[in-house]
């Protein structure tokens, strides 16, 4: 117990790295995924194929392999990258592919008549996206997306394997010194659980909030 109290500041540092990695991944993947997702639905054919291929490939590769591919594979190709950013890039690729599918799902759930009604009153393509499609797609996109943030948090634990001292790695290191494996693992599990479970609850809350619009 003493060892755990003693280790707390160290664990807090790891915890903040985990949050920082997750936040970067969430922001980058959201930006990339939104653009690519819209391209997948509305882009010209060749672009659609490229995005489809990207998403299917990324989703077919285990996250851990993706992390190794970026970490070990980039430097020989002349792109130097440290372990922290290798983790962020790999997890961003993984999350972006998810976001692309959320976007596609959200947009394709909107009846075709909505686009047509927008056309009929003379809205341009961009205006139709802004005023008709996106406001409706948001409520379908948000709940799975918020819920999927947990995947970034959980996936971030894998970058401990590159030596990044995130929450997972700081737990491993404290165990290495104190040999108190179980209490520390459970403490770690509890912290991850606390972050992710509150995200799940938020997702459910958002879903209910948007439930008032039915079609």
């Amino acid at each position: 117990m003493d060892a755990m109290l003693y280790a707390l500041p160290f664990l807090m540092k790891g915890f903040s790295i985990t949050l920082w990695v997750s936040a970067l991944v969430v922001v980058f993947s959201l930006a990339a995924g939104l653009v690519l997702g819209v391209a997948l639905v509305y882009g010209p054919r060749p672009l659609q194929w490229i995005v489809r291929l990207f998403s299917d490939c990324i989703r077919g590769i285990p996250i851990l392999v993706l992390i190794f591919v970026v970490y070990y594979g980039f430097p020989p190709l002349g792109i130097s990258i440290n372990s922290f950013w290798a983790g962020v890039v790999a997890l961003t690729l993984f999350k972006a592919a998810q976001v692309i599918e959320y976007v596609r799902g959200a947009i394709s759930s909107i009846p075709r008549g909505q686009m047509e009604a927008g056309k009929a009153i003379g809205l341009t393509f961009v205006q139709r996206l802004q005023s008709v499609i996106f406001p409706q797609a948001v409520r379908r996109f948000l709940p799975p997306w918020i819920n999927g943030v947990t995947d970034a948090v959980k996936g971030s634990a894998l970058i401990s394997l590159l030596g990044v001292v995130d929450l997972m790695q700081s737990i491993n290191e404290v165990i290495g010194r104190t040999y108190e494996a179980m209490p520390l693992y459970l403490l770690g599990a509890f912290i991850y659980f606390a972050i992710n479970y509150s995200l799940s609850l938020t997702s459910r809350f958002v879903e209910r909030r948007y439930a008032y619009i039915r079609d």
């Binding site: 299917d56 020989p76 634990a157 394997l161 599990a189 659980f193």
Partner: protein, 221 residues
């Protein structure tokens, strides 16, 4: 870019990857089987049980779903043996972990599948005098199986990818094989190209195979 691709060393050690892939598939198959049993038992228990049991099952599901798989792997392989006097190999430990993991996801799948069985079918079962067990076996489970089949396929593919985490406790599956070649030959780019392609081909073959089976299963009804 002055890196020259050379796959010779990869082919020389290809058995590491091939055997790794076979083990990955074995791990995934075992885990989905055990996980499906866990999931099914808990789902049936859940829909018929009181509040306390439901809370316990939910706690299990939420715990597993919200903790990183790698940490679960550590807990089972490194953590549990420190508190109970019980020894198991890394492979057994990983199958146990992934089964519990699969179970948690499948409880939800089966539970919603059971609840999606139309009321009228159950009433019809009652009307012809089936006992609760007969209704479960002949009415609810067959219907549920059909509803949950796509989700089962998806879970299996996810599990196949998740087997890569077994490499962290040195289970010699595909990712471990890739790392072994990486550290022993330094043909880093080549080994990850080959490994990635192996994951993709296997994963999508399974996906198309299972989708084909689903279609046949649907058509027969």
């Amino acid at each position: 870019m002055n890196y020259h691709l050379n796959f010779n060393l990869i082919w020389r050690h290809f058995d590491k990857l091939w055997q790794g892939l076979v083990l990955s598939l074995e791990l995934a198959v075992l885990s989905i089987l055990i996980g499906a049993i866990i999931g099914l038992v808990l789902a049936i228990w859940y829909v018929s049980a009181g509040k306390l049991v439901r809370a316990i099952i939910s706690a299990y599901v939420e715990f597993i779903r919200n903790v990183p798989l790698i940490l679960l792997v550590y807990i089972v392989f490194y953590g549990i043996p420190t508190v109970v006097d019980f020894a198991y190999s890394a492979t057994v430990s990983f199958v146990g972990t992934l089964s519990l993991y699969a179970g948690a996801y499948l409880v939800e799948v089966f539970r919603s599948g059971l609840e999606a069985v139309p009321r009228g079918q159950i009433d019809a079962g009652k009307a012809i005098g089936l006992t609760p067990l007969q209704r479960l076996l002949h009415v609810r489970l067959p219907t549920m199986a059909r509803i949950t089949l796509p989700a089962l396929s998806n879970t299996f593919i996810s599990l196949f990818k998740d087997t890569s985490v077994a490499s962290v406790i040195s289970v010699p599956e595909l990712t471990y094989g890739a790392q072994w070649i990486n550290f022993n030959t330094f043909r880093i780019v080549e080994v990850y190209i080959v490994t990635t392609i192996m994951y993709l081909i296997t994963g999508y073959s399974i996906l198309f195979g299972l989708r084909g089976l689903e279609r046949r299963f649907r058509a027969e009804r």
